[in-house]
Symmetry: C2
Amino acid sequence: MTSPVNRQILLARRPSGIPQAGDFELVSRPVPEPGPAQVLVRNAFLSVEPAMRGWVSAVPNYSEPVPIGGVMRSFTAGWIHRSNHPDYPVGTRVTGLFGWQDFAVADVSAIEQVITDNDLPLSTYLGVLGINGVTAHYGLREMGRPLPGETVVVSTAAGAVGSCVGQIARLMGCRAVGIAGGAEKTRQCVEQFGFDAAVDYKAADFSDRLAEACAGGVHVYFDNTAGPISDAVMRHLANRARVVVCGTASLSSWDPWPQGPRVERHLLVKRASMAGFVIFDHAEHHPQARRDLAQWIREGRLVYQEDVLDGMEQAPDAIAGLYRGENRGKRLIRIANAP
Amino acid sequence: MTSPVNRQILLARRPSGIPQAGDFELVSRPVPEPGPAQVLVRNAFLSVEPAMRGWVSAVPNYSEPVPIGGVMRSFTAGWIHRSNHPDYPVGTRVTGLFGWQDFAVADVSAIEQVITDNDLPLSTYLGVLGINGVTAHYGLREMGRPLPGETVVVSTAAGAVGSCVGQIARLMGCRAVGIAGGAEKTRQCVEQFGFDAAVDYKAADFSDRLAEACAGGVHVYFDNTAGPISDAVMRHLANRARVVVCGTASLSSWDPWPQGPRVERHLLVKRASMAGFVIFDHAEHHPQARRDLAQWIREGRLVYQEDVLDGMEQAPDAIAGLYRGENRGKRLIRIANAP
């Protein structure tokens, strides 16, 4: 199942706002050779994340922007196809920031995970056991610090991070309220992911339904959207509420900088806090998070959904599709089948 | 020096925005009698605080709004004039929320401070040793948690809280940058209060001067204003910055709710936090804060400025005057001289 060439998705131009299909270019290059002590990784799954918008933006960010003409940055899962390192034999399943391409040459230090368990599908290591699950675990437990009985509200609740946040909140003894777009996703929040309540932000009665679902006050708000959804939640903060700023998916651009209701008075009157985090800062937390998440999956206490697109040619439009709300669960691109 | 009557400033109507002189009414009532185990306090100094705007607002707040027709809520400093409690003899100097009036009957549990030291003026117990100093001490040390060498920025830097924040920051080994309105106040920040730099938010080159003063990034922003001043500071946050939300003095009204640049992206990209606090929640911290502050004053390491208006008839316009930026230092109304 090896490809004779290395197909790559390059960033063709700097997107304004949400990256669209036309901002990328598919090229074919020779398969590279690993150097001394390096490995050649064969990617099987490419990840698609809302955060990619930031990775290609020239606006200051937590990581260097992907250069024009560079391979699109992405987590991928695959296996070692050739190896010049004795500790990393051919066939080892790995994940890493190996980009939207068939093959990547990498130093072994660039390998994010060496997957030794064989009972869970390779794709899960990009979603519920990858950056999404780890983000939910760290953000909720270490930043939000909810106590049993508290109400945890999460936006993009049917998504890869949000669905995980809601389920972990329930496992911690909290009441979980999800916010999602449309009847299908809110139903999924309750029926599939076990949220206590879910509110449709696209519905005309969103504000009333949210007030109902948060009648006792919001103790932790796990914010994946910013924008009007978050403005509505801020009005229901409980005393000493913690707002965890994880993403800003509802804002299509930061140029011009978006305006909104000022938050200072909420924070002051409710003695509340609002804090952002970047999961890459907390690598020391990842192994324990992955052990917890895998354990919960095996016990049937944590479910996940994947939205798998087939073929690398799907990648260029896949980020815009996330922002159009098309995906159901973690979006992945499958470009090869495991050997 | 006793008054034959009890003059009181009542809240005559609910202000819209900043309380103005016409929102209050001066009345004369009989001096009340303390009941069993109560004391009658003779107020000598009335406090004037920016926070009073919130105390008279009907918008939800951390305390019940002062009722229409009620005595204006205020910290005061004075002495016990009559006593029905053996542990609180006549002449004892006290502070408490005894209101804008000559006399107040109080349970002894309502006494905030019993002043036993005699070397510092009574007025200081309303400012630098009162709620302002304690707010600066708690907010900077417990919420901001600056480390030596970090840059601390404070708005309303020449004010009662701000001047104290800057000086404590310096005592903690930090670089202190003040923001104040006008050349006189910025000069005072540097020359009198020892800030490393001070920036005039009314100057045309505010943005450039702020950028210069914060070239290494802002580690702690002690925010007394919100509004455009804070929007400018947010653009200079360092990684892991802490924004301490103490007041919103630059915003004249919360109805309609003011809009501003969204903060989420700053918090996310800089892994920063923003948190509000209400000093009344932290009574356990007050005694230590007062001991530290008094010690620093005695050692000459902490200076303060007072803006004393004479006579109760000055009170009704005194809050509006704060918001007009008239005061130089802690604003007080003197209504009696110590016996």
